[in-house]
């Protein structure tokens, strides 16, 4: 950091006049990376499309993911259907957009529960409190890390799905709200729940190791001697100092989360049809004969998925550069 500060001081007057927050500084450095900005743009378009899928359907830009037109089945790309149609005559572009909604829901939910809440809280507490609490949290982490993740995710999803669906049906009956199960809410819950359960360990370990060093610093000592409570020290003093690490580890994890959902659904244990997901679309299209006859069924969803994961990785790489110039 000292290098950066020195650079900043050298660029006199502006730097002195407009003081820049560390986040503002990072943002400026990120904006200068053109590839990262392109990746960010792709991600934003993807998320926007995913979030507005119902709206886009409402105004008639795309069709519902269920709408079939058997006379138009298995058409190649055309003006009417830019991505072609699948074997039930459903518009592939619409299905891709609806599938991105699934990806958006799962990545955001997993990010918030797994990477933010679990990883940050457990990492902070483990590093700061220490003692048996630390040992316990880290051993639980070891336990999760020692499991073959994909196998466990498949196992959890395969075994618990019906139970969670039953709970969903019960809630529907009790509250009178319809369509919870039909909209795939239990599937979403299970997929992102399982992903979070296995996703927090890496982040928590990194945060903990930083906190171990930070808690010996003078400003924490000062805060403590002023009588600040532990939660206050954790969230007001320590958290801001590891925010860069949190951003980096979150962005590096995104591609993994999105990819895992697709793999799970591909195995048939994730999001269930008719809720559209890239995993199911890729699975249906990947038989050699199908692929030979109708390559567009795999090519378009595949391109979008590859583009998204590529963008996540590019952005993650750029953010790593921006936030931790010396590390790695």
């Amino acid at each position: 950091m000292s290098r950066e500060t020195a650079d900043l001081l050298l660029q006199e007057p502006e730097a002195r006049v407009s003081s820049v927050s560390p986040m503002g500084l990072a943002w400026r450095r990120l904006v200068r990376k053109r590839i990262a900005m392109a990746a960010l743009a792709f991600i934003l378009v993807f998320y926007l499309a995913g979030l507005t899928a119902p709206l886009l359907t409402g105004v008639g830009l795309i069709t519902s993911y269920r709408q079939q037109d058997l006379e138009q089945a298995l058409q190649g790309p055309s003006l009417d259907h830019p991505f072609g149609t699948d074997r039930l005559g459903r518009d592939m572009l619409s299905r891709v957009i609806w599938a991105s909604q699934t990806t958006v829901i799962v990545t955001v939910a997993t990010l918030i529960t797994g990477s933010l809440v679990l990883a940050v809280t457990l990492g902070l507490v483990s590093g700061y409190v220490g003692g048996w609490v630390d040992t316990l949290i880290m051993r639980i982490g070891d336990t999760f890390a020692s499991l073959p993740t994909i196998l466990m995710l498949i196992l959890i999803n395969a075994t618990l799905k019906d139970r969670v669906r039953d709970v969903g049906h019960n809630i529907e009956d009790l509250t009178g709200i319809g369509g919870i199960v039909a909209h795939g809410v239990p599937d979403y819950l299970l997929v992102f729940g399982a992903l979070s359960l296995f996703g927090w360990v890496g982040g928590a370990r990194v945060i903990r190791s930083q906190i171990l060093a930070l808690r010996e610093t003078e400003f924490i000592l000062a805060a403590r001697s002023l009588g600040a409570s532990t939660p206050r020290i954790l969230f007001r003093h320590l958290l801001p100092n590891v925010s860069n690490i949190i951003i980096v580890s979150m962005s590096l994890g995104l591609a993994g989360i999105a990819g895992s959902e697709i793999v799970l659904t591909w195995f048939g244990v994730g999001i269930q049809p008719p809720t559209p997901s890239f995993g199911a679309m890729i699975f249906e299209a990947s038989g050699v004969r199908t692929l030979n006859a109708h390559p567009h069924l795999l090519a378009f969803p595949g391109l979008i998925v590859a583009g998204l994961l590529f963008s996540f990785n590019l952005l993650g790489d750029a953010l790593t550069d921006v936030f931790t110039p010396r590390a790695r």
Binding site: G130, D142, T159, D162, F267, L309, N313, D317
Partner: protein, 334 residues
């Protein structure tokens, strides 16, 4: 060294605890699910009497902790991993170990290729920092790493098997008795030498090369900034010597931990690679075991996987201190 010994001792003490939790949770989870393995095992016999008989024969009528106790007793005393439900009349040991052998073959080859190409490519990119070669190679690495095998493997089959017809579409050669004494005539018994293995190996190795290229580049750049590298150069050592003796040696240190993770990555990768290519290895069989509620098989895979990983991470920590004497384990790092 004393610090290390007690550190290792403490880590080892946790191993049984971790393994107990892992196995018990898996055991409970597998039995908690829908679908009844008894019905699978009963096959065409659909009467209650047959179900009850099978349930009793397998001990499924007992409470879960008792079932767990009996199972673990068998594992620990006789090395018996139980009976496969899906493969009637065969023990898990009989089904599991050949599958592991198949997976290990192509995974080992893929890992070798990964390291043999990934490390030099990473060094190459690092040496060209500041020119167009470096950023474009990183982008290429990232791209290769990003495209999931779920998408590339079907296209690979389409082109190499269907269009060009130079590789078989999927499958794995029939196993035959491997003469451990020597290759001689039996090398065709080792599946990895067959043409069926080409696409799976590539599907695993290419992303691996990309990952290793990026890591190697990052660590090499870090080390190249060090004073001792400048000293080595100013002593007039050849560039090759500087790179191999001074830079790579230090850069590979942090990379040694990543080998463990890429091993895990390969195992996870083998799930979809095997499902797509029809290799009857550990990935495909575990997936089928989950689908078919083959309790004992799932248990065996999780148990072996967890044990290997927990022990491997301890070994890596020890190796780390042996390679790099600068690292010390202090008492508090429980």
């Amino acid at each position: 060294m004393e610090g290390l010994t007690s550190y290792v001792a403490r880590r080892l003490l946790w191993v049984p605890v971790i393994l107990f939790v892992v196995t018990f949770v898996t055991f409970a989870l597998a039995r908690f699910g829908p679908g009844d393995p008894v019905r699978v095992a009963a096959g065409q016999f659909r009467d209650e009497e047959a179900f009850a008989r099978i349930r009793k024969a397998r001990g499924l009528d007992k409470p879960i902790h008792e079932q767990y106790y009996l199972y673990m007793k068998g594992v620990l005393t006789k090395g018996d991993l139980g009976d496969s439900f899906r493969y009637q009349g065969r023990s898990v040991n009989e089904v599991l170990f050949p599958a592991m052998w198949r997976s290990m073959q192509y995974n080992a080859v893929a890992l070798t290729i990964t390291l043999a190409l990934g490390i030099p490519l990473g060094v190459f990119a690092a040496r060209h920092q500041g020119t167009w070669v470096d950023p474009s190679s990183i982008s290429a690495f990232l791209l290769i790493q990003s495209v999931p095998g779920l998408i590339t493997i079907p296209f690979a089959f389409l082109f190499f098997a269907l269009k060009l017809g130079i590789l078989p579409a999927s499958g794995w050669p029939q196993d035959c008795q491997v003469q451990l004494g020597f290759l001689g005539q039996s090398y065709e018994c080792i599946g990895v030498f067959s043409r069926e293995a080409v696409i799976p190996i590539l599907a695993l190795a290419l992303p691996g090369i990309a990952v290793w290229g990026r890591y190697t580049r990052a660590f090499t750049l870090e080390v190249m900034k060090e004073d001792y590298v400048r000293t080595a150069r100013s002593k007039g050592l050849s560039e090759f010597r500087v790179m191999t003796r001074h830079v790579l040696r230090n850069a590979l240190l942090p990379l040694s931990t990543i080998i463990a993770f890429s091993l895990i990555g390969l195992i996870e990768g083998s799930f979809f690679v095997e499902t797509l290519t029809g290799i009857p290895g550990i990935g495909l069989l575990s997936f089928e075991a989950v689908q078919g509620r083959d309790y004992d098989f799932i248990m065996a895979v999780v148990m072996i996987g967890a044990t290997v990983f927990v022990l491997a991470s301890i070994v890596i920590d020890i190796m780390y201190t042996l390679i790099d004497p600068r690292i010390r384990y202090v008492a508090r790092d429980g």
